[in-house]
């Protein structure tokens, strides 16, 4: 009996480590870019950092950027695997970048490999390159030697915390990709060749699985996020308020301290969606001062309400033009008015529906100065 146990243990433990993937034998791919290929369907670009050891402190870092064309991302992965000495491993990918053209063709087929692989990192960010290719972005050598993955990842993270993007990772996007009645938007980036940098350029609107080409600009994106009911750590709005002609004094910058956003649907004949946004603001910049004057705050509040409503209307028009239902109005119609949902074709209906923003603004703080 004892011998049998021993033999068994030896068998299990000595026959090998089937699944061992030694970390040192792996080429970490930290960012990936996908474009439309010339001959094949896609062109994949990856950046692989290699770090050499030094006796003290971090060693030198070389970044290897490789591109290949293939029919599918998996095939491209295998091709790249042939080009490098170690094993290609995308399980720590931080950013996935799409070229504008490919994004317009549809992103789901490309991401399928990511979604299917148990080892893939679904916590990665996604971005679309406006007027450019993913390859250019991936190949960019950032001054200061930061890795492109770190640079882009950090940038998108800050954008999320300052309420410019939703900060959704691949996993959260997947729900909106697949579900009918909900669309989504993805951060747009643009290469700034002069500064050797990358700009955040707003949010690209998607309809179902493709990029529409329409976007919400970077200036509007904070308000756009607030309309979605999303707020990062800081949400700062700069709006032109008072009628004075003096350029700089006519602007006010406010920070959102607290917000509440609700959406109400009314379905008769057509769909009406009322978006109520309740904001409690803190004034952080208001060069014309005089907030102590009675009624001045009230005035500012009213002006802000006006401006915000107008801007929101613009945003909503863009959304409807792009036919991108990022608020998930369709899913709500399906959830609460299933009969109506069955009658209509949502993608035809959405541009026609009425979306009305209502703002309620309250200034509760104005810094340490009046």
């Amino acid at each position: 009996m004892k011998k049998a146990v021993l033999v068994f243990a030896a068998l299990v433990l000595l026959t090998g480590c089937w699944d061992e993937r030694q970390f040192k034998n792996i080429s970490l791919v930290l960012s990936m870019g996908f474009d439309v290929g010339e001959g094949h369907a896609i062109k994949q670009t990856v950046s692989i950092p290699t770090v050499t050891r030094s006796s003290e402190g971090p060693g030198q870092e070389f970044i290897n950027v490789l591109s290949t064309e293939a029919h599918t991302p998996r095939e491209a992965r295998d091709k790249i695997d042939m080009m490098i000495s170690d094993n290609f491993d995308p399980s720590k990918v931080r950013v996935v970048v799409f070229g504008e053209e490919l994004a317009k063709e549809g992103i789901f087929p490309v991401l399928d490999d990511m979604y299917r692989d148990p080892k893939s990192n679904l916590n990665a960010y996604m971005a679309v390159v406006e007027k450019g290719t993913a390859e250019e972005v991936t190949r960019l050598k950032v001054t200061g030697g930061t890795r492109i993955s770190e640079y882009l990842g950090g940038m998108l993270e800050t954008a999320a915390s300052s309420t410019h993007t939703t900060g959704e990772n691949l996993q959260l996007l997947c729900a909106e990709l697949i579900e009918p009645g909900i669309d989504f938007s993805v951060p747009l980036i643009q290469l700034d060749e002069q500064n050797e940098a990358i700009n955040f350029n707003g949010m690209g609107l998607f309809h179902e699985r493709t990029y529409t080409g329409e976007k919400i600009s970077a200036e509007q994106s904070t308000l756009y996020m607030l309309l979605q009911g999303k707020r990062g750590k800081i949400a700062r709005l700069t709006e032109k308020v008072s009628g004075e002609n003096d350029e700089i004094t006519s602007y006010a910058t406010v920070e959102v301290n607290k917000m509440k956003r609700t959406m109400k649907l009314t379905v008769d004949e057509g769909v009406t969606a009322d978006i109520n946004v309740n904001l409690q603001l803190k004034v952080v910049e208001y060069p014309s001062d005089h907030l102590y004057v009675k009624g001045k705050i009230k005035m500012l509040e009213e002006e802000l309400t006006d401006v915000l409503t107008k801007e929101s209307e613009k945003i909503l028009t863009t959304l409807q033009e792009a036919n991108s239902d990022v608020f998930g109005i369709g899913r709500r119609v399906k959830a609460y008015h299933p009969d109506y949902w069955k009658e209509i074709e949502w993608s035809e209906e959405f541009p026609e529906i009425e979306i009305v923003p209502h703002f309620e603004v309250k200034i509760i703080e104005h810094g340490i100065m009046n």
Binding site: K24, T52, K92, R147
Partner: protein, 529 residues
């Protein structure tokens, strides 16, 4: 008058001398003869004419004083036997009152071995025994391996009588019971079973005595042997009896209803039954504020997880699941292991063995050289091995942390067990990654749950769960909350203390504002020892 008093009020029974510590003639008797030469002959032949047996002929050959030169104190011989005869009113040794009289030569033999001197006379079969034992004892210093910062600084020594004395001094109560058992056919080692009558479970005491008396061996020279003879399960790395050299610890355990086993010639006391968590309790915990005590206790228990699992965890990550490393750390980790020649499992095994080598070398060598070994081993080898690229610096950190964590355990036996358990887990992790670790941990937990120490589950009070007893397991609650003794010792008397902070209650009622708070605190302190 005294005679009349005895005649009327006495019970007329002759009391026997009670000296159980020295009673090891195995029931053999040999009546002494009236002939002196015959008696001496018998003694000499039984000791195989051993040269240190001294026979002093007195009274012109009509009497003899026999004793072991090596065991008896010359001064005592003079003081107790010759002194009184020369100076005092007694003119014959046989009339000395301090003598014990026997007519059994076997008893004489055993008493001679105990360091007594025997006085024999021609024409009388009475043998007079005098206690002239010499003993060389060190002072009861604090044991090196169980130091505390605050609290009692004495420790057991190699003399069982002094050890029991240290305990009796702490428990001045009639219920403290000591039972002697002789084991070892040749060595006749005196083993004492000590318990509190009325607190300890009688069936437990009986079981301990039964197991000890079942030992049939020529020699018992260390508590480790006794432990192996009487423990429930020998095929396990885990010690099932607590070893301690601290009187305060023994006393605290006696008061919880456990049994202490002591042996002549060793300062180590065994405590049964012991549970896993007892090995993580240190006397210091009770001398600290309970916040700090709890914190330290938690750190110590956490060290169990580190000591057993950290190298395995690291290997599983580096060999199987590196996607677990967070984004910011991934490049530094990769950089540190990129150019190491060996697979992580070899690295780990080598480093763990090296640490063991350094430790063992440090223990065996005399103290000043031992320190040098520590420095050479730890600093020089550690640094060189990393520079040479044989082992990654992360692995050095992991293994060093593991070693430190294993030394945190207050008990040396358990600490060794933990370090031993690291190896199978390393191998499992190197074969199956996290799944291997889970199975390894599962086996360890099942094993621990199945273990018993004198009928008490080893993992008590966690499995079986006894919620009340967790008060002194993961945490150390304030003393006044430890109202009951732990259930795992099956104590007969569960209440350990009445409210010790009664003064506060009466304070609140406003009846006696001038009561002394110190008294209550002091009594709670006493309980904690």
């Amino acid at each position: 008058m005294g005679f009349l008093k005895r005649l009327f009020f006495g019970d007329h029974k002759r009391l026997q001398d009670r000296d159980l510590a020295r009673d090891y003639n195995n029931g053999r008797t040999q009546p002494s003869s009236t002939k002196l030469s015959k008696n001496i002959e018998y003694l000499l032949s039984n000791f195989h004419k051993s040269n240190d047996l001294k026979v002093r002929v007195l009274n012109e050959g009509n009497a003899a004083l026999v004793y072991f030169e090596s065991l008896a104190e010359q001064e005592e011989v003079f003081e107790k036997i010759f002194g009184p005869v020369e100076k005092g009113p007694v003119d014959e040794i046989s009339k000395l009152r301090s003598a014990r009289v026997t007519k059994d030569l076997e008893e004489v033999i055993s008493n001679l071995l105990g360091g007594q001197a025997a006085y024999l006379e021609d024409g009388s079969n009475n043998v007079h025994l005098f206690d002239v034992t010499s003993s060389y004892n060190r002072t009861p210093e604090e044991p090196q391996n169980e130091r505390v910062i605050r609290g009692a600084h004495d420790g057991f020594i190699e003399n069982i009588m002094i050890n029991i004395n240290l305990i009796r001094k702490r428990i001045e109560h009639r219920d403290l019971t000591v039972k002697y058992i002789k084991i070892g056919k040749m060595t006749h080692t005196n083993v004492a079973v000590i318990y509190m009558h009325g607190i300890a479970d009688p069936s437990l005491v009986q079981e301990v005595e039964r197991r000890i008396s079942c030992i049939e061996t020529d020699m018992v020279h260390s508590p480790g042997l006794i432990e192996e003879y009487i423990e429930d399960q020998t095929n396990t790395p885990f010690p099932q009896m607590l070893h301690t050299e601290r009187p305060d610890r023994v006393v605290a355990n006696l008061m919880e209803g456990r049994v202490a086993i002591m042996a002549e010639g060793t300062p180590t006391t065994l405590i049964a039954p012991s549970t896993f968590f007892m090995f993580y309790q240190a006397s210091d915990d009770y001398n600290m504020r309970w916040f700090t005590g709890t914190f330290i206790r938690l750190v110590r228990l956490f060290s169990f997880v580190i000591a057993v699992g950290l190298p395995a965890f690291y290997i599983a990550i580096v060999g199987f699941h590196f996607e677990v490393i967070p984004d910011e750390l991934i490049i530094p980790v990769k950089a540190s292991i990129n150019e190491i020649a060996y697979p992580p499992i070899i690295e780990a095994l080598v480093m763990v063995v090296i640490i063991e080598l350094i430790r063992e070398a440090g223990v065996r060598l005399p103290a000043p050289i031992g320190q040098t070994i520590g420095i050479v081993g730890g600093l020089v080898i550690g640094d060189a091995v990393v520079r040479a690229g044989l082992v990654s610096n992360l692995m050095v950190i992991v293994v060093a942390l593991t070693a430190i964590a294993s030394f945190v355990v207050p008990s040396n036996e358990l600490s060794t067990a933990l370090r031993l358990l690291t190896f199978p887990l390393i191998i499992l992790a190197g074969t199956l990654g996290f799944v291997g670790i889970v199975f390894g941990m599962l086996i360890i937990i099942i094993h621990l749950t199945k273990l018993q120490s004198f009928g008490v589950p080893y993992l008590a009070p966690v499995a079986p769960l006894s919620f009340g007893d967790l008060k002194d397991t993961f945490v150390r609650l304030p003393m006044f909350m430890m109202k009951t003794r732990p259930k795992d010792s099956h104590t007969v008397k569960p209440d350990a203390l009445n409210p010790v902070r009664k003064w506060k209650l009466s304070d609140q009622q406003g009846s006696k504002p001038n009561q002394q708070p110190d008294g209550a605190e002091a009594s709670s302190q006493k309980q904690s020892d």
